[in-house]
């Protein structure tokens, strides 16, 4: 009896040779315990050393091995051969990103969008200095002391802080493909996460990006981003909470014109 095998169809693209990507088929020994990442490793070691893909932690923490498996954005380390066996597994790079080589995509636009939402705590001193028009109370950073946060205050944003920047949500989002300028699910969810943080004073600085036409207003709540998220961040909820907030601020800006100038 011959050993059990499983077939993988992998979208290949070599920028030095290929005009466009094409599927390559590999047949490898079937091992029930193997993840898709193990299978790719086998192919690279034994069959085709030119196969290119990103990976690091192998435990769904680093967010490196996002790829499209049988049409669904997934982490390679969390996808197992046994989930598909005996059917062929179709592997493609993340959608809505330029393909660099094989399963590796160019994520630079994602990094720019992530930076744009200022994904870090902006403390009171930084917030005051960013807006000289407001009264600056002379304060040294050390005089602020430590930031206390209760479990309840942390619970407010914890879900949105679980993001591992794996970009599966960007691959899942059709609005991303229709409007590449869209800031996108993860970056907006992370911006929301800092806005909800009791230690943060940077909401005003993030508003321009979050409330922009290419911010939350490019979303139509398809909701697939939240379905594929490996960490249950629910970026669709984060985005649409910001629409509700934006609508409220929009209305308030007529009652209190100062608010509109933020």
């Amino acid at each position: 009896m011959s050993e059990k095998t499983i077939k993988l169809e992998i979208l290949r693209y070599n920028p030095e040779v290929d005009q466009e990507p094409n599927f390559g088929t590999f047949e490898i020994p079937y091992n029930e315990a193997w993840s898709l990442l193990d299978a790719l490793e086998y192919i690279k070691d034994e069959l085709d050393s030119s196969l290119t893909y990103r990976w690091s932690c192998r435990m769904a923490v680093c967010g490196s091995c996002g790829m499209v498996v049988n049409g669904r954005p997934q982490l390679g380390c969390e996808t197992f051969l046994r989930d598909s066996y005996p059917n062929t597994i179709r592997v493609e790079p993340l959608a809505n990103f330029p393909i660099e080589k094989d399963l590796v995509v160019d994520a630079s636009t994602f990094i720019e969008k992530l930076e744009a939402v200022k994904p870090y705590i902006i403390d009171a001193v930084d917030a005051m200095e960013a807006e000289p028009a407001r009264k600056i109370i002379p304060t040294t950073k050390t005089s602020l002391g430590t930031f206390k946060q209760t479990p309840k205050e942390m619970g407010l944003f914890k879900q949105f802080s679980m993001c591992i920047n794996c970009m599966l949500c960007y691959s899942a989002c059709p609005q991303m493909g229709l409007n590449p300028m869209f800031t996108g699910p993860a970056a907006l969810a992370i911006g929301h996460r800092y806005n909800l943080d009791s230690r943060d004073h940077g909401t005003d600085q993030r508003t321009e990006v979050i409330q922009d036409k290419n911010g939350v207003w490019s979303c139509t709540f398809v909701g697939y981003c939240s379905e594929v998220c490996p960490k249950n961040v629910d970026p669709a909820a984060a985005i649409n909470q910001n629409k509700a907030q934006g609508a409220q601020d929009w209305a308030l800006s007529f009652l209190m014109p100062r608010k509109g100038e933020k």
């Binding site: 508003t207 409330q211 922009d212 207003w217 139509t220 629409k243 209305a251 509109g260 933020k262």
Partner: protein, 119 residues
């Protein structure tokens, strides 16, 4: 938001939300009554008679408000999805198309309110 970056999407989305709400909560029963029960003869003959309907929707204040609440937000809810649906279907739109979509709904809303209040 800086004034130059402000846009009307928050207003259009709020109207869409209001329309989504009225379509979800009021319209199913209205379709059931007007579109299915009445044609099938499952309602008393006089249920939707001119006398009753005009007395309620045109002469009583609660009826007038019901007619406006049933119709107007729904227009905005629908047109918002139609407009964004064109984007989804990769039909190229511009400010004129947008103005045409939401503008015609604005006119329809005004006509509806005028008919109910002064008809």
């Amino acid at each position: 938001m800086k004034p130059e970056n402000r846009h009307i999407e928050p207003l259009l989305w709020s109207l869409f939300g209001a329309g989504g709400m009225t379509i979800a909560f009021l319209v199913p029963a209205v379709i059931l009554v007007v579109g299915i029960l009445m044609p099938m003869g499952l309602l008393p003959a006089e249920a939707l008679s001119y006398e009753r309907m005009s007395a309620f929707f045109l002469d009583s204040w609660i009826g007038k408000l019901s007619a406006i609440a049933l119709l107007v937000p729904g227009y905005w809810g629908c047109i918002h999805r139609v407009y964004h649906g064109m984007h989804d279907l990769q039909i190229h739109t511009n400010e004129k198309v947008k103005l045409g979509c939401y503008g015609s709904v604005l006119v329809l809303s005004i006509v509806t309110v005028m008919l109910v209040l002064f008809g």
